[in-house]
Symmetry: C2
Amino acid sequence: MGDVYAVVNQKGGVGKTTTSINLAACAALDGKRVLLVDLDAQGNATSGAGVDRSALTASMFDVMTASDPGESAELLHHIIAPTNVVGLDVAPATIDLAGSDLSLANSIAREMRLSRALAEVREEYDITLIDTGPSLGILTINALAAADWVIVPIQCEYYALEGLSQLLQVIDLVRSQLNPDLRLAGAILTMFDARTRLSFEVAEEVRANFPGRVYDRLIPRNVRLAEAPSYGQPVVVYDPTCAGAQAYQQVYEEMFADESARTGARPVGVDIVNEDAESGDIAGRGGSD
Amino acid sequence: MGDVYAVVNQKGGVGKTTTSINLAACAALDGKRVLLVDLDAQGNATSGAGVDRSALTASMFDVMTASDPGESAELLHHIIAPTNVVGLDVAPATIDLAGSDLSLANSIAREMRLSRALAEVREEYDITLIDTGPSLGILTINALAAADWVIVPIQCEYYALEGLSQLLQVIDLVRSQLNPDLRLAGAILTMFDARTRLSFEVAEEVRANFPGRVYDRLIPRNVRLAEAPSYGQPVVVYDPTCAGAQAYQQVYEEMFADESARTGARPVGVDIVNEDAESGDIAGRGGSD
């Protein structure tokens, strides 16, 4: 109960926000109480879940920069907003979060702020998902320090594995210094295009690098996935029958079908990804992006 | 001579990279020696200028994290790569940069690393442009600390002014603590769509908030601007006659037409943007993004 998942990849445009919103919505539609924490200054999870950022008087920025843990937890309670999806609440982000590095530069225990703020709140939810931005800065470290599980979306594109060994090193660092219980839930392959050979090659290479830790179901490139955010809805609500929605539904089922199996998941370590893979055929292929 | 421009906005997707590449290319085509420093971990300025990230053995990450200023300057010399545009060189970025916050957390003078690395190199160029990522973290602070001028791209969209007062506060902070010579060159309005009333309204509101500091020429939404990066070319080279290319050419001419006039530019301060504007009609308009 009360498990916390951080959706992390320091590369931009890999589908972190889409993954966060839709797994959160799938869980809510499944009858669970779900909290989606938006820890990306761009606030796309917030608006994509239908919460109007312009109407907010406080946000995760205030939670992260509050003067003490008690105030921080109180603020988190205060900012959590319901969405149009029954059971799904959002802790919203605004662009202020982009200044967190500066605001937290000299703060005590600055890596543990989210963890402490979530300590009580997380027990009110069956699942908490944290969306993060394209950085390994203080916000992402807070997400990893607060989480039980890491979900890594990986796009089926050139440079897919770029940065993954660095990400696993950071996860390892957080696990050894801040959060010994942190484990890798799995990698989700996104933006899969069955018409291109590249998509198949990348999928294969990712599976070779994360053996047994990649969800079977691939998330396709899908126009409905791209459209849904502008309607402030998860795609699984906006168009539940489209390919993108069904794919997220299936990943959700894989993820929670066999909770006990996860207990045996091997701890995350840099050994999982072969360093050489970064300069390998697919990851290192040159050209455009 | 040797002026350094930082292209900054902590919002993502406002056109920082497109602006950096194309102003740099315009200057090179104008016969100037130009250095484009990619300080965004996503490396899109690097690949967009035609430099293959997968072939790099060192990048701006090494420059920023070197053990002393001498080594840092040497590494910068070493990584600078020519492009297919005569006169335009690039100091490339790789995804490693996403971990800079962690790597620099306890470093001495960590805000001044770029400034020191550029101290000699900048004199080899007429113009240095620094592309930055969607954050106000340590990399963006370094860009501001190293620059003479700030260029702020602003998209003609909902929430256009969101975050701008925070950005101006940070510029003010850098100016008072690190770099007294830092000044605002101007704001460039991007993604202007003459078919929408919103674009005109946003443009008007931005001009009201930055009186005399917004370039006249608007950068239109233009499919060639979107396509050019996948060919590793600035749009002013890829298709010099398209609307996007001509717009950047004109902004470039505005920017450098009257160098003397800029000397009188008033220093940047939080007074320039009215705090209330953020919750005003256009900036605060709700809905999707």
